[in-house]
Symmetry: C2
Subunit: 206 residues, 2 copies
């Protein structure tokens, strides 16, 4: 079937949101941990974390418009630090629950039972239960003018993970970490390995 742009615009809001959110394919599931200057922690689930580059090591995510409350954004710009924590099969329900609209004075850590963990003198809280954790410093924000979202860029300052997840060539074993993926807003998946392919060169037949 063909769905064109006028049909997309005419869809009921929730229907359109479901459809467009599913279109990009499987997405990563990460918890972003922050704290404000008063020590109030925040934890929020994001499916828009994206690799920006390896040298320098940069990672980003898309933040929704300024018209909604954005504790994550406020804490990052206030303190300059945030953590990105992989979500695995044991915590995806708690991770999803962080998307509820809690008041500013409530911490999603308290509300979902996930545990804030301060490691290696890093000022933002990691998620203790997560098996792959990334400490980032705020590199900058890039406004996306077409819909008033923002790309937040972070420099990777530290990586905390179980030794056995790091493979010999630097790659990570996400299946052993039970890292999950999401489709759309709410549909969670585990991943099962197909295969790792060699570096592609011209002339190879597939």
């Amino acid at each position: 079937m063909l769905i064109n742009s006028s049909q997309i615009s005419a869809f009921e809001k929730r229907y359109r949101t479901n459809l467009i959110n599913a279109l990009s394919g499987f997405k990563s599931v990460n918890l972003i941990g922050t704290v404000n200057k008063k020590g109030q922690t925040n934890l929020a689930i994001f499916s828009s974390v994206v690799h920006l580059g390896a040298e320098p090591a940069l990672i980003g995510f898309i933040q929704r418009p300024a018209s909604v409350e954005r504790h994550t954004y406020e804490n990052i710009t206030e303190t300059g630090y945030f953590t990105i924590n992989h979500v695995h099969e044991g915590i995806y329900r708690a991770a999803h629950q962080t998307s509820a609209r809690y008041a500013r004075e409530q911490s999603e850590f308290d509300e979902t039972g996930l545990t804030p963990e301060y490691l290696n003198n890093f000022s933002a809280p990691f998620v203790k239960e997560s098996l792959i954790k990334i400490g980032c410093s705020f590199k900058g924000e890039i406004p996306i003018p077409f819909n008033n979202t923002i790309l937040i860029a972070g420099a990777i300052e530290q990586i905390v993970l179980d030794d056995e997840l790091l493979m010999q060539d630097g790659h990570l074993n996400l299946q052993a970490a039970h890292t999950v993926a999401v489709s759309g807003l709410d549909h969670y998946y585990r991943a099962e390995e197909l295969e790792r392919l060699p570096y592609a060169k011209p002339g190879r037949r597939v």
Copy 2:
């Protein structure tokens, strides 16, 4: 274990690339189809496609620096159109092979056996074998100054998919589409459903 930023900088290039590319979690796998004004087609695999917003319906991807050949970027800015095509279990090897450095006059369609398909008067080629295809118009480019990458934004003009993949509330059944995910640069996965969770509200225990 802890890996800090000085260790990351000191890693051998390939090791660092593998590690940093795996850090964001599972990523979508999409083929971006384009054609230049002379009719020369191009097809390239991207793991950086990201949802930008549902109203208006926008989708984006990260394009590498201008210092490397970028046929996809050149064709998009020259013609104003591109397609995004989900990669499924039957075509992920061919999709990976599009990442080989083919010369400008070679089409990855010819080289990998994937079939260009022109549909609904859309000027950029879709991938016939793909089950979820998105026709986009070029909305604009946003430079990411920290590493000279670019966020390319597209407006969703049309969606082409099998009827049975569209669920009643607008969500897509990516497992039925056999859509794959990738970790790092080369590690392909199938997805197995855990569950779809309800909209999160404060006060719910998890």
